[in-house]
């Protein structure tokens, strides 16, 4: 259906329905087929929703990935199934416990209990020139997090972010909040595509962006 699926992600039939799937150990009770493929639930994963909506994410199998806001590892488990080295950063201890469990059967997944607002606390572990920075953090200052972590991206790398309006400001209209976030983001990124994820996730804006060359900030 969509021509832009990264290698390692396929559409498979589960219970009579075509769904996104990756190949790996099951994590959250998702349906599996006989060949080891497991369904990727777009309602539980913003990246899954971005793929489902046919956005051009510019990621491919074996890419190096930094994932900020990995939570329990629901989405990052699928990413690690098709990507290369995958660094998963999460700040809260309870979900990180589950994330460690998810990483045990995935040798290319590296879980880190770190604060995404402080990249210097993991810059000695996460390598530079990564192909992809995925961000799903529900904290105020989501654009700042993306800007601070730009240093991990290769010049032709991609930022794939899901910005949550309510994390920035509860009272304002989400559309206005998103405009502000995008303005801030332009300080370090060229924005390639945006799309609301409302069909799957309320008040979220998905953004695909490319880092701007150094010095053009």
């Amino acid at each position: 259906m969509s021509p832009t699926l990264p290698s390692g992600v396929e559409r498979r039939r589960f219970d009579g329905r075509d769904r996104l799937a990756t190949r790996g150990d099951p994590v959250y009770g998702e349906p599996q087929d006989d060949e080891g493929w497991r369904a990727w639930d777009a309602g539980r994963s913003k990246l899954g929703a971005m793929l489902e909506l046919g956005m051009d994410l510019g990621i491919d199998g074996d890419d190096g990935v930094l994932y900020l806001g990995a939570a329990s590892g629901t989405t990052v488990s699928h990413v690690a199934d098709f990507a290369g080295p995958t660094y998963a950063v999460e700040f809260a201890p309870r979900p990180t416990r589950d994330l460690v469990g998810v990483a045990e059967s995935r040798p290319n997944l590296f879980p880190l209990l770190k604060d995404a607002r402080e990249p210097e606390t993991y810059a000695h572990v996460v390598e530079s020139d990564l192909d992809c920075l995925i961000q799903d953090v529900a904290t105020r200052g989501q654009a700042t997090v993306a800007l601070r972590n730009r240093e991990f991206l290769a010049p032709d790398g991609r930022l794939l972010a899901a910005f949550k309006a309510r994390s920035e400001d509860v009272l304002s209209d989400p559309a206005e909040v998103f405009d502000d976030v995008l303005d801030d983001l332009r300080a370090g990124y060229e924005i390639l595509e945006t799309q609301r994820l409302d069909r799957f996730h309320d008040d979220h804006l998905a953004v695909v962006a490319e880092p701007r060359p150094e010095g053009s900030e």
Partner: protein, 283 residues
């Protein structure tokens, strides 16, 4: 470990290949200004034979280090918090009790001694002249120490409650959050209590009197200490306590089952309290 680490060095810079403990420690103890191509550098410096070997070591080290970091953060758990808040209350009660005894005794020496811990602080500064005065001053010092300990316990509770129960601490304030945990017997049991029980935690005497047919049902227990309940007009305190307890119960469940901060539940409560407080009050 050497003191002359370059400003940007990888986690493996001072780690012997195969030394899992040192590698794990470096992941959480060190920092770097900027990332570099660590896999290539690890191969160049001989830490790893090739990139695959490096990633294997990295996987083992991050698993071990993060597992340990999680345990460490979670060990500041609900039991510690429960003990701390109970100790804080005990220290306060005991300090006040001794301060009253002290005020009575110190009054004998013909000086005007105010009651409470403030009075004890004054007495502690006296220069004793008789053996009896020595005892009085010494007792005053104990009271002051106890009060200082109470303050230390309070700041411990304030800094640890958000780790243990981020949503509950945000909603109730750290000290009330710790009291609720203490009354319920931990985060797990608080998460499993219905909102109606959370509403009257700390008012068990009144509740059981009501159940035996004496008196009206209590509108609030320890949550009365929160501004949302105490600061609401008495006509609407029941509604406020019910709404507040409902969201506290939800906050406790989020903290227990997910542990992640969830802004929406706090916004819902803010809106609900504003609505309740806008209602008219009887003259």
């Amino acid at each position: 470990m050497s003191d002359q680490r370059p400003e940007s060095a990888g986690w493996f810079a001072d780690v012997d290949p195969g030394d899992l403990d040192a590698g794990a420690a470096a992941i959480y103890d060190q920092t770097a200004d900027l990332p570099r191509d660590w896999p290539a550098e690890a191969v160049r410096t001989g830490f790893a034979a090739d990139e695959a070997d490096y990633y294997d070591a990295l996987h083992e080290a991050t698993l071990a280090a993060t597992r340990e970091a999680v345990e460490k953060r979670e060990r500041s758990d609900d039991k510690q918090l429960t003990h701390a808040v109970r100790a804080m209350d005990d220290a306060e009660r005991t300090a006040n009790e001794l301060a009253e005894r002290l005020a009575e005794w110190a009054g004998v020496f013909d000086r005007d001694v105010p009651g409470g811990v403030g009075g004890a602080r004054e007495v502690a500064a006296w220069t004793p002249e008789t053996p009896a005065e020595e005892r009085v001053v010494s007792l005053a010092e104990r009271v002051v120490d106890l009060d200082d300990e109470r303050a230390e316990l309070r700041s411990f509770v304030e800094s640890h409650a958000p780790d243990v129960a981020p949503n509950l601490a945000e909603m109730a304030g750290p000290v009330l959050a710790a009291r609720l945990l203490s009354l319920a017997g931990g985060l797990e049991s608080l998460a499993k209590k219905p909102a109606g029980t959370v509403q009257v935690l700390g008012a068990e005497d009144a509740l059981f009197a009501h159940l035996r047919g004496r008196g009206s049902s209590p509108k609030h227990g320890v949550i009365f200490t929160h501004e949302y309940v105490r600061g609401t007009h008495p006509d609407h305190r029941g509604s406020a306590a019910r709404a507040f307890a409902g969201k506290l119960a939800i906050a406790a469940r989020i903290d227990y089952y997910s542990g992640e901060f969830k802004q929406s539940v706090h916004d819902d409560l803010t809106e609900r309290m504003a609505t309740i407080r806008e209602r008219e009050v009887s003259q």
